[in-house]
Amino acid sequence: MQDQLIIRLHNQDRTAIGDLYDAYGAALFGVVLRIVQSRELAEQVLQDTFVKAWRHGASYDHSKGRLFTWLLNIARNTAIDATRTAYYQHYRKTESIENIVHTPGPDNIRPDLMGVREIVEQLDDKYKLLIELIYFKGYTQEEVAEETGIPLGTVKTRVRYAIGELRKVFGDRSPAVALLIAVLLK
């Protein structure tokens, strides 16, 4: 199914964009919202993301990563560009790191998924912060080290550890199960 989708994407078949949107639109919107911190701007960024995916669909190489990773990179770069505009600078003060950390996480978690929830919640704030800054906000590890005052080596170790913790929840399951968990977590 994924292969079919990739072929359609390469052939500039518009239905591929519709399917990608259905599968990843909400996850990408969540990321974009965290970066731009404005619903109006996030909507614009999400539109631009899928239009770019449409334009550059032929250049997607599945051997270099999953579709979501590719889309997320487009979304993140588009969102970061949006925050650099004069309009954005004028209306939004730079978010403090504390605000990012306390961005509300998923609620309404089902009791039978408490195990999953605990792992996500148990992820220490210092690891969450790194994931937020690097994965969602596109900071380089050097920038994180500079911003937080944590040595670069420590940043790198913590990123690896944080991702390792996430893999306990999502990484080694089949994509279908991971998606199911993600849906149930919502």
Partner: protein
Amino acid sequence: MDIQSFIQSGLLEAYVLGQCNAEERALVEDMLSRYPEARTELQSIERALEGYASANAVPPPAWMKGRIMDLIDTEAPTAPTAATPALKSRSWRWLQLLALALAALAGYWIYRNIQLEAEKSTLEDRIEELQVQIDACRERDQRMEKMEQIVVLLRDRDTRPVALDNGKGTAYAYFNPVRHAVALDIAGLPAPAPGKYFQFWAIVDNQPVSMGMVDLQAVAGWQNLPYLENAAALAISQEDNPGGNATPTEVVMVGNIPAG
């Protein structure tokens, strides 16, 4: 670099996070092409971050997908087959709506016209009916006025009844020398012979003087007639000519005016 230390290095994580420089990226892609373990490791990292993003998903507004598809359609000359039907069906839909609206308007207009036509004819009938009633009222009014006049005449002490006798019955005329009034009670007259007309006469110095034709349709059954001074008698003749004759042809009724 052996595969285990490569996996431990954190380069794969940096690669997924888009943190690698060109040199590192080339190394990672080389390792990925050679070691299936590296690929498995990469996919595991990707799923972990993908799962985390999905867990923090926020549903975009419902209109978003349609907007994106529209944007793609407007900038995709390579896929005109997909764009045209959407546009065509949209304008077609507008045309359908327009036609429907016009049909509804025309329908209402026709319906309203029929309704107004019906109302108009009802009103015309009503006007006619009222006209008939008005005519009837006017007629009744004339009759009342006439009867009031007659009552006044009959109550007058100077009025003298003139009995017109034809041998079979009696009709009455009323003569008032003070008021100079003469009235004939038509209701007391017999019907004239077929094709014949009644003419009224006053007898003065034994000579008949025509007072005009008797009007059997007179209002309220009373006919006012000209007054003639010194009349001694009144008479009614039967004539062939509807306009009357200079001298009576056949006198059918006659009566003397009583002396005051």
